[in-house]
Amino acid sequence: MNTLLPLFTAIPICSAVLILIIGKFDKKNFPRIWSLLTSLSLLFILVVVWDKGTIIHEMGGWKPPFGVVLVKDNLSRMMLLIVNVVAFLTIIYSYVYIVKFEDYLRFFTLFLFMLAGMNGVVLTGDLFNLFVFLEIASIASYALVGYGVDAEELEASFKYLILGALASVFILFGIGMIYSITGSVNMADVARFIVENNLGGNNALLMATGLFIVGFGLKAGLVPFHAWLPDAHSSAPAPISVMLSGVLIKVLGIYSLIRIFYSVIGITPVVSYIFITMGVISMLVGAFMGFGQDDMKRMFAFSSISQMGYIAVGIGIGTPLAIIGALFHLLNHAGFKSLLFLSSGAIQTSTGTRNLSELGGLRKKMPVTSATSVIGALSIAGVPPFNGFWSKLIIILAAFSAGYFWLGAILVFTAFLTLAYYLRFQKNVIFGEPTSLLKNVREAPFMMVMPMVVFAVFCLLIGIFNGWIISNIIIPAQGIITNQLGYISSVLGI
């Protein structure tokens, strides 16, 4: 059973190399079909290992803390579910979308490397290995953001690259700091050393904490480290925007922050306070900047910053209820923000523009895309019974029950702001009268519409069956986060 875990990274990497070789002879169909099969096989492996509890794989047979371990617990299985489902549907969507770039080979190779990197980040139990997988995913995503090689795309990609490289340097520096205190890079062993020696206020550990917050905060796009995010998200091809906003910033940023601060270093009041502050600023800045945008994808990107703020606040409050809310919002955000970015790609493909001022009245011309965009917008705005409502409700309730009344008020206020700018999106794009430019607009092709419908159904079903999702997926994951000693003993076997 545990030998299945390395396959999550090995299969995409091998497929990527295979696509590079065989794709030389069959440039068009092989990369698309093979990457679809790769993603499908990963989903199949996930189903096999899904309810097998915590699985530890020792790479090369070396026992922890000496070797690298892969750990699949209830938190990583939830992240694996998000990553692989979103990646699968995005590959289906890319099947037609990518035709206009006329280069299937490199797109799918880089895409699979990014997928391998993210699966690796989620599974690894070793700090340095986390850095390596994080770099695999990041470097692939830098190249994919600039995939169109137009001036704006290259500019966005270069900004993202510079800030991403800065983040990587900070993360590696932090790992070096941790190694200098504990003499180990195995997460469970580091956590054991910190707990046993009661190192909470150690100066080097505080410095590592600061470096990790800056490094992973840059990857997560939290304000004040968000400068790259709107450019990169709006310039990338639509499938890559989906991967960036739907999974990459969550896996590389939020998941790594949760794993390192809850399972390894141990959360302290100061760190909680920093999370809450960064979350509140992200929520407000993202929401207010979202109002002023004319470009649809830039608006979605700022709304991503705002929703990341919700998750950061949930993690910062730190009560079990707040963490359930944060994880549930993470799952939901992957659904509705992927849906919205896919819709923006479909609208751009059909109409040739994504400016709110030039669009209008797509309800009659593109009925399916309009319906899915409305579902996505209502979900993210927190309208019941869609999924966004329940997760925001849980975070707000958690804030009030933990005694943060002003925080609860800001959360409610931001929810209304989000509703307001998504209503503006609906009014300008879906409803109203079509402008003269849009007379001959047709619905997007089936392969692009189908993933959008699937995401829309997910949003509705998760909203309706929220109790089942929370008790079967979210609460087990929350149990891993709040039980640091349990993580240590399950990995080290003591």
Partner: protein, 116 residues
Amino acid sequence: MTLYFLNFVLLIIGLYALVVKRHIVKKILGVAIMEYAVNLFLILLGFRKSGIAPILTEDMDLATFIHTAVDPLPQALVLTSIVIGLGTLALMVAMAIRLYERYGTFDMDEINRLRG
């Protein structure tokens, strides 16, 4: 301690180049300097003055080995990190060339078609 301080100064020089300089190539050099500073930091963690290579031969006493050998783990980490740094650097230089083709300049202040 002096070594660590000088190492930190190197990191700050890289950060300065990255943040303040407008020329793309200087920014890239800043990133490279920061990467080298961090690699040097990792190596310093395992450094030991007049230490020996961490290879245990048969004629060696285990206690003296522990007290004289350098720490091999940071060296292994740094090898990986250098390769990753090379990948990032190659991508950055390729991007810089493409940017020059599109904008005709290396000045980051003139490459501003996107509002940050």
